[in-house]
Amino acid sequence: MASPPPVPRAVRRRGSLAPYGFLGPATLLFTLFFALPIGFAVYLSLRASRVKGLGLGSHARTEVWAGLSNYTSALADSELLSGSGRVLLYGALLVPTMLGAALFFALLLDVPRVRFGAFSRLVIFLPYAVPGIVASTLWGFLYLPQVSPGYYLLTRAGMSGPDLLHGNGLYLAMANIAVWGGTGFNMIVIYTSLRALPAELYEAARLDGCSELQIALRIKIPMVAPSLVLTFFFSMIATLQVFAEPMTLKPLTNSMSSTWSPLMKVYRDAFVQGNIYSAAATSVVIAAATLLLSFGFLKLVNKRANGGS
């Protein structure tokens, strides 16, 4: 029997191995730092710690299989649901305000012959460079009527300031920190895509008698819609993950519970109450819900985009 000539085979083999070689590092990193930890979190969420006797002395605790009981108790915990409710309310306040402001500033900066453009851009962007914890500490001081210069001025003027650390004021206080910190980033994203639009469009519009306002409303905003979708998507995910800001404000007020946001509940379960199993189950639930919401949103947007075109 005649065997196939060796050279083409070697070539074929080399050709078929190369992609795997390129894929290897990424796959390895993905497995090590992404798939494995997630898999382990899922595994932990199915485990629990059981005690025998008084639970004192050595070997009093054993890890046992818990089935889905961590999930049932995570889902049955009303705090997870009300925490999600609080975060949604906070997001409903935050996202439109922040993106509205970002779009507004981006459009202003894009107006021809704008003065101090680079400086304004930097000033609006700067708060984004301040870490969330620092920003929250800073704003926390400003929210405490006893130490805040703002409240001092208001009292001197015979007025009383709003109560920003309790009740509904807390949502305003929280949203304000995020708007302050996030507007700059979103503005840069929108501004960059505004700059990428061809100038001929504006020229044509001006020849047709469009004012700058009409250009902004009729041309610029529709043209940057994709980056608005992108910034909305990022903001939505950031909202669902809100953690550092409420954790920093918590010691300042009676009204911020340790389960104010879903992630705070995960932190409390794992690191205050020492129950990593329940924390793992809650994180898996949160991850699933976030994924569902994100993909649902993307799908919705794609559908509308396709339907519209």
Partner: protein
């Protein structure tokens, strides 16, 4: 999207540490190696300057060298140590608050060192020693410092408003209300929902025993009559606006202490340190008095904090148990060590000899107006009610913060908050397989 996943990864990482515990057991028996060179011990502590005290030991004991790794105090240190112990990376020695001892013991972090340190028993008050034995024959730590509660007040402002230092809680309430009438914008103190340790101490004074064990059963009595009495008392004051309801340890609180908006503070013997940093302008204006009593003429107090030095099971497995226990005993009973603890670390030592000896003859600088500060504190400390801690104090404490935070803010019913705390604690015990009876 990373942050969400980072969290899952963090949770998973904790788990990885748990798993690796199985493999590390075999490799830790290096007792043979230890015999050749000096034994090296690690000590996790949060008290400042503890390394300087360890230096004193290291100079005198070349065969056992202790290195201190400074920790941030608080709830997460307990979790951190438990996780480290599961991974086989626990320190040899650790500073632990009394209320955390049962949790640490039940997670197999602290070793029974009754054989090595049992002889030190006579150096401590019975109530204090009971906290490190958990009511058993075992000894899980050597008491380091105690924190009996007292009442601190602004001497000058009490005089200005014609107030008398309250000796009973009834008088305390009357004083709070009298102050409100004379100066509506001032408060005697605040009821703070962010530090359950103070509330626990006040409940101890009233006779509460939150956790008790009998046989194989735990009994949780957070909503017992004594605690209800304490909760009801503060509930009434908050409801009437007789005391403030905002949390402690905020910039607003520091300012209120500093500018005399709050003219009193129920606190522990470590209060001078806090006042020094929080209310620097009031130096020499405060005085300490015994905690107001439920029964006139009594002299009972509770504790807010206080800590002990424990030897970990990891140290015992590595063959360092004896060396670590030796250091723990030295640190908390040796005159030289106690002197260093008082002068460098600024603790109120648990050893009775140190409380009454010459070490604490001078009052804290901030209280220079009260030269008999420490003799008075020793007198107060004698009446410290014993505490009764259980294996899930962390859960009870976090339930306290949420439930009482809400109740204090709404000026609502503290009794309901107390029930919530009891319920959360019992449920957690049951969930972990404890028998609750």
């Amino acid at each position: 999207m990373h942050r969400r996943l980072a969290l899952a990864a963090a949770a998973a990482l904790c788990g990885t540490l748990v798993l690796s515990a199985c493999s590390s057991d075999g490799g830790s028996g290096d007792s043979a190696k230890a015999a050749s060179g000096p034994v090296k011990l690690t000590f996790w502590a949060w008290a400042p300057n503890m390394d300087k005290v360890a230096e004193v030991w290291n100079k005198a004991h070349p065969e056992i060298q202790v290195s201190v790794l400074k920790q941030a105090g608080g709830d997460d240190l307990v979790t951190k140590t438990i996780t480290a112990a599961k991974a086989g990376n626990a320190p040899d020695l650790m500073q632990a608050e009394y209320q955390a001892l049962p949790t640490l013991v039940s997670n197999d972090v602290l070793a029974d060192v009754s054989k090595q340190v049992g002889g030190a028993k006579s150096q401590f008050a019975d109530g204090v020693w009971k906290q490190v034995t958990l009511g058993s024959d075992a000894v899980y730590a050597v008491p380091e410092d105690t924190a009996p509660l007292a009442f601190y007040y602004r001497q000058d402002l009490f005089e200005q408003y014609g107030l008398k230092v309250p000796t009973t809680w009834d008088e305390f309430a009357a004083t709070a209300r009298a102050l409100k009438q004379k100066a509506p914008d001032k408060s005697l103190t605040t009821f703070s929902a962010n530090d359950p340790g103070l509330f626990a101490g006040l409940a101890q004074q009233a006779g509460a025993k939150w956790w008790t064990a009998s046989g194989d059963n735990w009994k949780v009595a957070i909503d017992d009559p004594a605690t209800k009495k304490v909760a009801g008392f503060w509930s009434g004051l908050v409801k009437d606006g007789a005391v403030d309801n905002q949390p402690m340890y905020t910039p607003a609180w520091s300012k209120a202490l500093n500018d005399g908006t709050q003219i009193g503070w129920v606190s522990a013997v470590w209060a001078p340190g806090v006042l020094t940093s929080s209310a620097p302008d009031t130096k020499g204006k405060w005085a300490m008095a015994p905690l107001p009593q439920w029964e006139s003429g009594a002299s009972v107090t509770g504790s807010w904090g206080g800590s002990a030095t424990g030897v970990t099971t990891g140290a015992v497995k590595a063959g360092h148990g004896d060396a670590a226990a030796k250091f723990a005993t030295w640190l908390n009973t040796d005159p030289e060590a106690l002197a260093a603890l008082v002068q460098q670390v600024n603790v109120y030592p648990a050893a009775t000899s140190a409380q009454t000896g010459g070490l604490l003859s001078a009052a804290p600088e901030f209280f220079s107006n009260q030269p008999d500060f420490y003799p008075k504190a020793a007198e107060i400390a004698k009446g410290t009610a014993s505490a009764a801690w259980g294996p899930n104090v962390n859960v009870a404490y976090s339930a306290f913060k949420d439930a009482f935070g809400k109740a204090a803010q709404d000026k609502g019913d503290f009794g309901a908050a107390l029930s919530t705390m009891q319920q959360a604690t019992v449920e957690d015990l049951k969930k972990n397989g404890f028998q609750v009876g």
